[in-house]
Symmetry: C2
Subunit: 471 residues, 2 copies
């Protein structure tokens, strides 16, 4: 595990025309028109929802089974062609960009919900299943899948990028909601990372090694995921505060008090102004908490009353409540619209969504320092956050054609990340590393990054799996 | 990652006398009398609480800091001497047995609680801190550390063996309660596996790779652990059932209903008979659930009422209740005494504690088949289980001097594990692999075990870290 060992990705380069021809000749008899070099499809697979520069793969294929994925990866290993797993393309740090060309393996056709087991409260799904598809399928069961990033991401993509969302504070990230997976390794071997048992002490935790690996160690082809019972009752509330510190103090108090809240979201004054303008609301333009309570009718009432009492003590005002579903939807609309509203502040631009996460004791100070930096940098950057987890985003418009804007924004993001690391936090709470944040890995992990490279080297010695990402 | 690569542990052999002399000569000037070859201390470090044959290390040392651990490991790498991390010796699959000799690194002197942060609900501790020590320290804060294996294990040991306990169903295993760690790698490098942020999407999950690695990838020298708020109210109950299936159905119903129970433990009829005899109770000698509810006064009352209603519908009887602390202690005494009571059925023997975990839908059938096997094998094997997780143990006496008994028991355990694997479960829910269950790793993990070996090979190419365990 010498840290001087060549970085696998550095050894990777664009495949030769001959290698590509040979690969396609090998796979076409198996996949037929499910492997293509058509320009439109390649281009579509060369970008995600990020501001990062796109790069198209040399070819795209659409396997239908774990065995087909294994065949594809084995062939890519033989011909030394990079493999880029592709779900539905909603990543936001460039995870699916084909920096070194290669074959994009689009898993969207592997979208079967194979089994739902209400007694075990789990389901077996293929990686192309999206979270909305799964929850629609579950409607009659009284169960739901909890992880809810902004986009209607695929299960494989969420696992690969260690996604989370608004109800992580109660139900956990994808990391907490995958029991085990089937993974095609970089040499084509098929590995099950664990069983469906709720816990196990049997060996290295391959499940969690593959979660967040962004396709650099293999391709996820099946997942056993946890489901949760739909609560008997849900109620929602919004509360405004004079400043961010007040809102964060209310969050800390509620967690210490043990209120099992399902969602604790923050929008700052500018984000509230943006949604008022975008959606015609008339919310107070102050830092605002969006809250959701799950449980029995009695417990939800008790939780909500306790929380609102805490908020009042800590300077909360402008309370709004909702218990009926339509009312709750209306109340949460502002939060759901936040990203679109932020983007509408500067139409036609690209957007950077920052993504730091810090210990909650550091959150108020970190947000305030960031807002001061926003003001000094003359950026328009509404803030929204999963503050129960210490995670927040700024959505910042950028004109990709303006070198100066790009530089200003990159410098701002660097300062933000340095602030997070100094506060004992991480450069990404839920968006991942991709191509966008590799530059921060050394600062965050130190020698740990070398350990990651040693693992990559051991499992993907040819460096074919999603080169240029993460390690 | 060829699966034909030599197993690192296979390359390991007992260190030569010369290597040991050189190692001790190098370390004595640094550690003084904190490195010793005294027979008594070596013997004490050659066994854990398991039935596995002990093997003493060649020497034992007692470092005081991460830097000292790093120095020790670096020296062991230089001289090719095996390193066996040792906490408080309460493991039960032979994890601390020095199969290949070497240096036992006893971390019990590194038992400082470095920081408790109520706002973040976390603490930074050294690996020698025991769970009781931490909870005693936390008494005034209103917080507690939740993981509670039977023994008063050390934090480093619990992390290394991926321990859990009675309240995992609500608060998770150690895996869910460690934010990040400091680890000394097999070459002496010091690595931080993550930050104190509640979530992160930054790179491979080194924290979870090290949890459950049983010291084969490095030595844990510091942990950031999650704390939970002590509930406002606790109530406990016991309910008897005519058969195991009734009890398990009640557990399944309660989980589906979303009752956030803190503990759901099962003891079978024989286990109840054992505690009646051992502790003078007069419980019904039927399969019995031990339940605990945490929350506000109102929510605990609601949870308990709903659960008892469910139990009644499913044939529960002989209800007992407790809310005051002394009453609760008395009620749980039977569960706490269960292992001792089981051992008292055949005094003077060694004991094997089996440890499978299956999806809960398979639990009743698996327990019933196991009880039939117990009857056929003429074993005395009371059963207790963390049934909310699908995990159960049988505590079986064995005369280590009787070859026939050892063979009968080993065959019984093999059938039990095969039954668990066939049911989609694991060979160990919480005890780990150690020397005892390596033989089942191939059956449980298939190609996944080869992946584990490739990781071991990459991070510990000399094979010095706890050889003979797990991989």
């Amino acid at each position: 595990m010498s840290s001087a060992a060549a970085h696998p990705a550095e050894r990777s380069s664009r495949p030769t025309a001959g290698a590509l021809r040979a690969l396609i000749a090998e796979l076409e008899p198996i996949l037929g028109d499910r492997i293509t070099t058509g320009a439109g499809i390649r281009e579509q697979h060369g970008h995600d929802e990020s501001w990062h520069h796109p790069a198209a793969p040399d070819a795209v294929c659409f396997p239908h089974s774990t065995d087909e994925v294994s065949t594809v990866v084995r062939a890519c290993a033989t011909h030394r062609v990079p493999v880029i797993p592709y779900g539905v393309g909603t990543s936001i740090e460039g995870q699916v960009i084909a920096e070194h060309g290669g074959l994009s393996v689009d898993l969207s056709a592997m979208n079967a919900i194979l089994e739902v087991r209400p007694e075990d409260m789990d389901a077996t799904v293929q990686p192309g299943v999206t979270r909305t598809q799964l929850n629609t399928h579950l409607r009659a069961t009284g169960l739901f899948f909890s992880v809810d990033p902004g986009a209607d991401a695929s299960m494989g993509g969420m696992a690969s990028t260690r996604a989370s969302g608004t109800n992580t504070v109660r139900y956990g990230t994808i990391r907490d909601n995958v029991l085990s997976m089937t993974v095609v390794m970089p040499d084509g071997r098929i590995v099950k990372t664990g069983t469906r048992a709720r816990k196990s002490a049997a060996g290295y935790d391959l499940t969690h090694l593959m979660i967040g690996a962004e396709g650099t160690l293999g391709i996820i082809t099946e997942l056993n995921v946890k489901l949760h019972g739909l609560p008997e009752a849900i109620s929602s509330a919004t509360v405004a505060f004079e400043d961010v510190a007040g809102a964060v103090n209310a969050v800390i108090a509620s967690i210490q008090y043990g209120i099992p809240m399902a969602r604790i979201e923050l929008m700052d004054a500018l984000a509230m102004r943006a949604v008022n303008r975008f959606s015609g609301f008339d919310y107070a333009e102050k830092p605002t908490l969006f809250l959701e309570f799950h449980g029995t009718h009695a417990s939800v009432k008790e939780q909500a009353e306790t929380m609102l009492e805490l908020c009042q003590e800590l300077g909360g005002s402008d309370f709004a409540w909702a218990t009926r579903e339509e009312e709750r939807q209306a109340l949460w609309q502002a939060r759901h619209d936040a990203a679109y509203a932020a983007k509408a502040l500067r139409p036609g631009m690209e957007f950077l969504a920052t993504d730091i996460c810090v210990p909650i004791s550091q959150l108020a100070e970190c947000i305030e320092a960031t807002q001061a930096d926003v003001a000094e940098s003359s950026l328009i950057a509404p803030l929204l956050g999963h503050v129960g987890d210490g995670n927040f985003h700024l959505v910042v418009a950028v004109d990709r054609n303006s070198k100066q804007e790009l530089e200003t924004l990159a410098a701002f993001n660097r300062r933000l990340i340095e602030r997070a690391l100094a506060a004992g936090g991480t450069c990404t709470g839920e968006h991942g590393i991709g191509t966008g944040k590799r530059v921060y890995m050394k600062a965050e992990h130190g020698e740990g990054w070398a350990v990651m490279r040693a693992i990559k080297q051991a499992l993907d010695p040819l460096g074919i799996m999603n080169p240029g990402k993460l390690v």
